[in-house]
């Protein structure tokens, strides 16, 4: 009975944190007004740098996910800057609520923002890089985006919590996060290339990479739920 009450409390906290983060974003519009244009600019700058339609089509998958990871740093730092500026994170901690629920709520909110970002980035790839996708490829692409952004949401929240409120967090976060997200970059890029058929990649090759993305998300979902409390605990 007690366990059921605790579970309900946990899901309630997670959904409250999730709604709070999305409501802050809806009111401030930082992702839509700043991060999206930034990610779009990265896509344009890559086109300037590579300056070849065939090369851009070939590497479109990698460029989408690099732009996503660069944007992840900004979204995570912004999210935790709000939480630490008025000691909101400290208030959540001393309130005695389950910190794994806070982790879950923040991670899902972050994943949802990344999904919105990826929809725009993929649309930009269609327009700017002239990539094409079949219906089966689209199913692979959507699954890939969901799995990859879930994993990125978990690790982003975990390491964002660690660096929140510390000096030099702007430089420390990429240093800690980039090695961790390397498997996501490799797997999501290959799966996206398979969905686009870039370089003759078969769609069947992409599903194995989606499996790796799902394992990554599961590992850091469980690991993050256990580690988030000790990491932000004073």
């Amino acid at each position: 009975m007690k366990k059921t009450v605790k579970k309900t409390g946990r899901s309630r906290v997670a959904s409250a944190v999730f709604i709070k983060d999305l409501r802050i974003e809806a009111r401030s519009r930082v992702v839509t007004n700043q991060v999206l244009p930034f990610a779009g600019l990265i896509m344009v700058m890559f086109a300037f740098a590579l300056d070849n339609d065939d090369v851009l089509q070939r590497v479109a998958g990698g460029l989408i996910w690099l732009a996503t990871i660069f944007s992840l740093f900004i979204i995570v730092q912004r999210s935790f800057a709000i939480d630490t500026s008025d000691s909101a994170l400290d208030s959540l901690r001393v309130a005695g609520i389950d910190l794994s629920a806070v982790f879950l709520g923040k991670s899902i909110a972050l994943s949802l923002q990344l999904i919105a970002l990826d929809v725009v980035l993929i649309a930009a790839a269609f327009l700017l890089y002239q990539v094409q996708v079949s219906v089966i490829g689209l199913v692979l692409l959507v699954t890939c985006v969901i799995c990859a952004t879930t994993g990125l949401g978990f690790v982003g929240t975990l390491y964002g919590g660690l660096t929140a409120g510390t000096n030099g967090r702007e430089t420390l976060l990429p240093l800690l996060l980039l090695p961790v997200v390397a498997p996501v970059l490799i797997a999501a890029t290959r799966a996206t290339e398979a969905a686009f058929g870039s370089g003759g990649a078969a769609i069947s090759e992409g599903w194995a990479w989606v499996g790796l993305l799902a394992i990554f998300a599961a590992v850091f979902g469980v690991g993050g739920s256990l580690a988030f409390g000790p990491l932000i605990d004073e």
Partner: protein
């Protein structure tokens, strides 16, 4: 907490570290002489095979150091009494591990240039090693974040345990990635190297010698960390006492 474990020494040397130090000098002297003079050049690789006497033992120590860091971090987190001794061993081991990892990558690149014709190949082992290096540089950066000694210990222990989750995923993804691409062209890095008895013995001596260097460095480093923590703590205590005296006199 820290003052309870105050040490009775003012330097980092003990009888044990001196014995380890002397043994290290003896074994390493033998490795240098045997590696450069006594052992023959390899039939295929020529003189470049001598890099192996540094490269293989340093790689072994680098991975051993990170295993020690993970185990010490797990003991710190999961033991009932969160002993800061485990944290200091973890930190010292990571520092030494990073140093040996750099030696591994530099000597590996030099050997690669002579054997493969290139300083770098996107081989899974090389790539995983490079990621491991960056991960532990991040770990050392986390240890230097502001906060109390206990905060440092808790944060870095969690990061070390997360690295244990991360490294297999990085390795697996790179292996999977490279399986779809071309392999090393001149000499397969997984190829067996047949060695004569003296070469094998020198290599084994190198592993023993580098392990002794590792033990010696860890013993000294974790003690300098303890002294540094105590110095910080006593400085803080003195500042608090001075403020209290000021308030009493006012």
């Amino acid at each position: 907490m820290l003052s309870q474990s105050a040490p009775k020494f003012s330097s980092t040397g003990t009888q044990a570290t001196r014995i380890v130090g002397v043994l290290t000098i003896v074994v390493m002297t033998w490795v240098v002489i045997s590696g450069l003079v006594f052992t023959p050049a390899d039939v295929v690789q020529g003189e470049s095979v001598r890099i192996m006497y540094v490269h293989v033992p340093s790689a072994w120590i680098a991975y051993l150091a990170f295993i020690v860091t993970a185990i010490a971090s797990a003991f710190y987190i999961f033991a009932k009494r969160h002993s800061l001794g485990f944290d200091r061993v973890a930190g010292a081991s990571a520092e030494v591990g990073v140093m040996f990892m750099v030696i591994t990558l530099v000597t590996g690149s030099l050997w690669g240039r002579l054997t493969w014709g290139e300083f770098w190949q996107w081989d899974p082992r090389l790539t995983t090693t490079a990621f491991l290096l960056v991960t532990y540089i991040g770990y050392l950066a986390v240890r230097r974040l502001d906060g109390s000694i206990e905060q440092r210990a808790r944060r870095s222990a969690v990061i070390a345990l997360l690295a244990v989750l991360e490294i297999p995923l990085v390795h697996f993804s790179v292996v999977f990635w490279r399986s779809l691409h071309q392999r090393a062209t001149i000499l397969d890095p997984n190829g067996d190297v047949k060695m004569d008895g003296l070469m094998l013995f020198t290599l084994f001596s190198g592993v023993v010698g580098f392990t002794l260097v590792f033990v010696w460095l860890i013993l000294h480093r974790q003690r300098t960390m303890l002294l540094s923590d105590l110095a910080n703590q006593s400085g803080l205590d003195a500042a608090i006492l001075a403020r209290q005296n000021e308030s009493v006199s006012n």
